[in-house]
């Protein structure tokens, strides 16, 4: 009885893909592509870069998939690590888009790129999608090394250990960076109402009319 590729684990799919199975490759793509694409999009803020990065990540898997070692981490971690490297390369090329981390880990929050910081007085009546956009912009305004831990841990919902493998840092570093990044985000998003507040506003507005 033939086993469907959808029933196979990531490791089995990689083996099948390396054996030349196009269905296995397609299944891996379908499983992992959304996360990789969103990671690239959240890190870069550019759909074009996200597309390119996604394509490059799976091309790398296709060509150098034999380098994947399941003992060192799961497939997602492997792919995110490739994606992170590619994104950083793109960001270095396109410095005008966002600021690049200058290498100082104890960076002061005042040095954060102010381009994307929201005007807190204008955000009181933002709808949900506007809030989401503001959060995205705030994340994009973070230095890269803070941004990546927020994206990985908070948006991609990775564990610290997985994020540490992707970024090549110690778990403690990830934790401390995340703590600092979240503090910076709170500062940036000050004035943005919480989701339950938005519900209350929309509820009261609806009944006021």
């Amino acid at each position: 009885m033939a086993i469907l590729v959808s029933e196979l684990s990531d490791v089995q799919l990689v083996r099948q893909m390396l054996a030349g199975d196009a269905d296995a490759f397609e299944e891996i793509y379908d499983r992992k592509q959304p996360g990789v694409y969103r990671f690239a999009l959240r890190m870069s803020g550019s759909e074009n870069i996200a597309e390119d990065v996604t394509q490059e990540v799976f091309m790398a898997l296709m060509r150098d998939g034999s380098q994947y070692d399941e003992q060192r981490g799961n497939l997602s971690t492997y792919l995110y690590a490739i994606a992170r490297y590619r994104v950083l390369r793109f960001l270095e090329k396109d410095r005008a888009f966002v600021l690049i981390y200058d290498g100082h880990d104890n960076e002061d929050e005042s040095l954060v790129n102010e381009r994307f910081i929201t005007d807190e007085n204008l955000l009181a009546d933002l709808a949900q999608d506007q809030i989401i956009e503001k959060v995205r912009q705030a994340i994009l305004a973070l230095p890269v090394h803070y941004r990546e831990v927020v994206v990985l841990c908070n948006l991609q919902e990775m564990t610290y250990e997985e994020a540490a493998k992707v970024t090549g840092c110690a778990v403690g570093t990830v934790r401390s960076r995340l703590h600092r990044a979240r503090s910076m985000l709170v500062k940036k998003l000050r004035g943005v109402k919480e989701p339950n507040e938005i519900k209350q506003i929309s509820f009261s507005t609806r009944y006021a009319i």
Partner: protein, 278 residues
Amino acid sequence: MNCKDFEKVVSDLVLGHLIMAAKKTDALAHKENCARCASLFSKEKYLTPLLQMTTKAETTSAPAHVKANLLKAFAEEQAKISRSVYAPAKSSNFFAWKWAAVAAVILIAVLSVTTLRLFRSEQKTEPQQAENPNTNIEKKNNVNSTNENVEKVVKQESPQRKVEKNKVDNIARRGKNVNTTPRRKSVEPLIENANNNEATTDFIALTYMDEKSAIDNGMIVRVQVPRATLIAMGLPLNAAQTDGYVKADVVIGDDGVARAIRLVQDSSSTSETKIKTN
């Protein structure tokens, strides 16, 4: 628990990650007693729903053409791999052919050298064979139309013999002119034989031979002809000496008719036959 420890677990606390129960209790207790950590906790609690909302809202994925491109690239990559897997067999065939060609060239070279050496050694041994008449002398009687007893010497053909034969042909083609013109009557300088023991004149066409009867095949027979006979035939010999025999090579065609003759002078012989050169 102090503030530093609280900072480490505050995210887990807000996000609901699994932490030890005792650690969670300590953290919550610390938050109640520390205003700074309480503020931090409230900030985290404020931020977490926003981030979760953002996460849930993002359902974007890569456009379809990315997938199409990748699947196409995968097919091309596999085709390339299959070609490269086949390539070593091709290259090994190529090298096999290459080695075979090299071996063939070496073999041809060796054969060529061997053949050349054999040919040269044959050239060297032929004059010695000519010196030893027992090996290839064949006696025949009644060759000449004059029914004289002659000694026939049949020599094997060699490059030198071929040259001589060509000369005979030329002479035969010239026909009677050989004898009529002074130039034809004159005998070419003596040809030194390979063994240097005898000298010969050029071949002289016999007078009864016409141009049409030039031969393509035939043999050269060494004979001893009475001097008087040769003088009677008009060959340029000293008419004063009519006795004795003269060595001569006679060209005999396939029909048994003598076509040309040349005189042979044994340089070692004391009773030399004088040959007129003019």
